[in-house]
């Protein structure tokens, strides 16, 4: 039986960690993810879980220790945000290339500069090519649900890759909302025990992890890693299906909200999807056929599935909560349009950058975007393809 409660996103993830009771958690505090290790430490101090908590001196060390623990045969995790993730850079790549199924609770916060502690996706988007699976949440419920699904995905033999469970800093991590929590036993049963086949602390079966690789082997190893990422898609779908059967909630690679007959779709990720859905409900009342495609899984990138989901609409707004500084658009803009082209889905697209460093994304902003999409599709309005929304400017948009 689910239990109704109210919690912040950080509390929800810490609650899931308590229920899963992993073996090792090295962590270093950074806003806005600090509460996660803090709450886990409290659970441990109160005897509610027996995870080995390692207070380390930096995020470089927390990720290194998490990899070391995982290689030794333990189920490990850590949590971080922003500059903490940036300091883990080298280790993120090692976790993936050494095929360590560990989990990172990421609370999305912008990267400097200007220095700022609020939400955007520049931290995880910067790490998008490090070989981690990335799953994003709209709210505290999804952060909780996604975290419970992380180990079954990561530890599957077809995958053996690390998983980053992302939620929006402050907006999700600190806002208290209603949530359905599952029973400890049901969560433990869903996640299962971790029984690695090969690990360092395995007497009589010696291994070496992460050996130097000459050119004759490194390219093949990377291809195998890419294959694992491709394989992870079916595992993510299986785990999502199993989760839905057991707990009655959740989405697969993305959520399609009122898109079945939509002329205009907003493709968006994270907490702002909730705002976009409100705008869709309001505009539907007025007879405008609009919808939201909320991306849940960014890595592996479901290019073809997105193209198929968008193929019947007239125009799509692709929403990036980060800047790529390439004069061309953010990561979603680049990858979605490439996916549409490859599937020969030639609909209109406009790429918007929104919500940087905690800038509010409002229902009114979403109305404006849908109006502009309509203008583009119906009247052939020419708009700049890489647009900022919610920006103060002397130019009228």
């Amino acid at each position: 039986m689910s239990k109704k409660d109210r919690m912040s996103g950080n509390e929800a993830v810490a609650y899931a960690i308590r229920q899963i009771n992993p073996d090792v958690m090295p962590a270093f505090p950074i806003t806005p993810s600090t509460e996660i290790p803090q709450m886990v430490s409290t659970y441990i101090a109160n005897g509610e879980m027996d995870t080995e908590f390692i207070p380390v001196e930096s995020e470089h060390s927390s990720m290194s220790a998490a990899i070391g623990a995982e290689a030794a045969g333990a189920r490990s995790l850590t949590a971080t945000s922003s500059a903490g993730l940036a300091l883990m850079w080298e280790e993120l790549l090692l976790a993936a290339s050494n095929r360590m199924p560990l989990v990172l609770a990421l609370v999305n916060r912008t990267l400097s500069g200007p220095i700022n502690i609020n939400c955007d996706h520049s931290d995880s988007m910067g790490a998008r090519d490090t070989g981690w699976i990335q799953i994003y949440a709209e709210n505290n419920q999804e952060a909780y649900d996604n975290f419970i699904q992380a180990y079954p995905i990561a530890e599957d033999k077809r995958v053996h890759l690390p998983v980053m469970i992302c939620q929006d800093g402050f907006i999700t991590s600190h806002a208290v909302e209603n949530i359905l929590l599952e029973e400890d036993a049901a969560v433990k049963e869903f996640v299962g025990e971790y029984n690695p086949e090969e690990f360092l602390l395995n007497p009589g079966k010696p291994i070496a992890v992460g050996p130097y690789s000459i050119s004759s082997y490194a390219m093949e190893a990377r291809y195998n890693q890419e294959l694992a990422m491709e394989n992870s898609k079916e595992v993510i779908l299986e785990v999502a299906k199993k989760f839905k059967e057991k707990f009655g909630r959740g989405f697969e690679l993305f959520e399609e909200y009122r898109t079945e007959d939509a002329d205009y779709i907003m493709l968006i990720m994270g907490s702002a999807a909730g705002t976009a859905k409100q705008a869709v409900d309001d505009l539907r009342e007025k007879g405008m056929k609009v919808g939201v495609l909320k991306l849940r899984v960014f890595r592996p990138f479901p290019a073809e599935e997105i193209a198929m989901a968008l193929k019947n609409c007239k125009a799509v707004a692709i929403m990036d909560r980060t800047e790529s500084y390439n004069g061309h658009g953010g990561p979603l803009a680049s990858e979605v349009t490439a996916g549409l082209y490859r599937s020969k889905v030639m609909i209109e697209t406009v790429c918007y950058t929104y919500g940087l460093a905690g800038r509010d994304f409002t229902v009114e902003t979403a109305y404006e975007i849908f109006d502009e999409l309509k203008d583009v599709a119906e009247n052939g309005k020419k708009v700049k393809q890489h647009r900022y929304i919610g920006l103060r400017s002397k130019e009228r948009s």
């Binding site: 050494n98 053996h160 010696p206 070496a208 004759s216 890693q225």
Partner: protein, 100 residues
């Protein structure tokens, strides 16, 4: 998943490599003659050596073989010529020579 790594070579297709290039073996570094990195070479003078054995434990590799409490000549297959043993020897029984 446990593979005999001796069956893997530079012609092995990607499907047959181990996951993350994990090695299912131990002490494989012995198989690599890292001594070829050496640019300077320590030379052992047996007549000056008092067998105090201060040199063997400071070797960052294991290039000073010790048997029955006595060291013998260098293992040049693995000695990289760092010269730490030269500084450790109180009797001048190791001299550094330029080149391989």
């Amino acid at each position: 998943m446990r593979t005999d790594v001796n069956t893997i070579n530079e012609k092995t297709p990607h499907e047959d490599l181990t996951e993350g290039l994990m090695m299912f073996a131990q002490a494989t570094s012995k198989n690599f003659n890292t001594g070829e990195w050496r640019t300077n070479t320590p030379v052992f003078c047996a007549e000056k050596c008092k067998q105090c054995l201060l040199c063997a434990p400071v070797c960052p590799d294991s290039a000073i073989p010790v048997k029955d409490s006595k060291r013998s000549d260098f293992d040049y297959d693995h000695c990289k010529g760092c010269g730490i043993c030269v500084k450790a020897c109180p009797f001048g029984a190791i001299e550094m020579r330029e080149g391989q």
